[in-house]
């Protein structure tokens, strides 16, 4: 079974302000989504784990695309997340195949990325929107970087498709001011603090 990609989408968002002071450096969020054929649609397949290996090159390609869109400077990228939307003839477990190829690709390319990549997934119809969680790449508890980004691909996923998405960001929420662990205070030992 080989991977078939139907469509690719990238989005770059630059947030300058949200009613408060205009940021010196806009907060950047980039998302990459791929609409792929779900080889397991329409029936129960027990052995699906092998498909993670087929998704690995796609994960790397999407992670590289995000780094390029964000200005090719990995030192500025400090947030990430991932998600999957499975079409109606698929199973939630199919979306779980994205955890390894999506997450490891980003952590391989980003320095000091000890934190778990936050994620979400669901089964849904064409046009389903998914709120992908974002956290700091090196310490999950950094409060200024708890964020999210909504992803959807018009016209997808069809019943036998999956939308696989990765998100990276540069900088905290544009007007972050609710305290907690700061990015400057990260110990960087356990991926949490």
């Amino acid at each position: 079974m080989t991977l078939t990609v139907h469509k690719k989408q990238t989005i770059l968002e630059e947030v300058l302000h949200e009613g408060g002071p205009v940021a010196t450096h806009p907060m950047l969020i980039a998302a990459a989504a791929a609409v792929v054929e779900n080889p397991f649609a329409g029936r129960y397949v027990e052995a699906i784990e092998y498909f993670m290996d087929e998704l690995k090159p796609l994960g790397m390609e999407m992670a590289r695309a995000l780094i390029e869109i964000l200005g090719n400077d990995v030192t500025r990228i400090d947030g990430f997340g991932k998600g999957a939307i499975v079409g109606a003839a698929g199973e939630l477990e199919h979306g779980a195949l994205w955890h390894v190829p999506g997450g490891y690709a980003m952590r391989e390319l980003l320095d000091d990325s000890k934190a778990i990549v936050p994620s979400t997934k669901k089964v849904g119809p064409v046009g389903t929107r998914l709120d992908i969680p974002i956290t700091h790449i090196n310490a999950s508890y950094v409060r200024s970087h708890f964020n999210s980004f909504e992803v959807y691909v018009p016209g997808a996923p069809a019943a036998d498709e999956m939308v696989l998405a990765l998100v990276m960001s540069c900088g905290p929420r544009v007007h972050e001011r609710v305290g907690g662990l700061k990015a400057s205070e990260i110990k960087g030992e356990d991926g949490l603090r």
């Binding site: 469509k7 990238t10 770059l12 968002e13 300058l16 949200e18 806009p26 691909v153 018009p154």
Partner: protein, 194 residues
Amino acid sequence: MKAIVRKYQTAVEETLREIGKDIDPPTRKATAMAVIANPFAGRYQEDLSLLMDIGEELGDILGRKAVAALGIEPPAAESYGKAAIVGSNGELEHAAAILHPKLGKPLRAAVEKGAALVPSVKKMGDLGTAIDVPLGHKDAAYVRSHFDGMEVRISDAPRADEIVVCVSVTDSGRPLPRVGGLTHADVEGKDGLR
């Protein structure tokens, strides 16, 4: 700059396979969007020239962002379109002031030429309202393979006092065009129609 921009968003969509057939090279389209404050929200303003100037600024900024997102040189752009969503404290005419008088000239500079009308849509909307930006060939409106559209939305815009302004640019037509008509190769590009 006259526009007060809250955020920009640029979306690129690339189609590699459609109904079991490979699309080679893939078709690609981009939409650059700006979420701006509506200077005339909540009141009737007779003179809309400020919005016309904002349209001129955004035609340049968004046109260049869309072309850059496709990674192409300006002459490689093939079709374009524009749209605006006005938040509930504004007026549909605000979108018209941004889109129609002055946005086109800098957009045409960004795609190098653009003899054809820039197709457009506008509507009132709320946070997360989607809009289908119409697409037409940049030099010859009758090119049938390039009649298309691109759906975009920003989840947190427009707020009531905001306007979302969209500019779309492509480097290709539909994935599998086969309904005849004028083709990209046969464009004369003089009158904007054929």
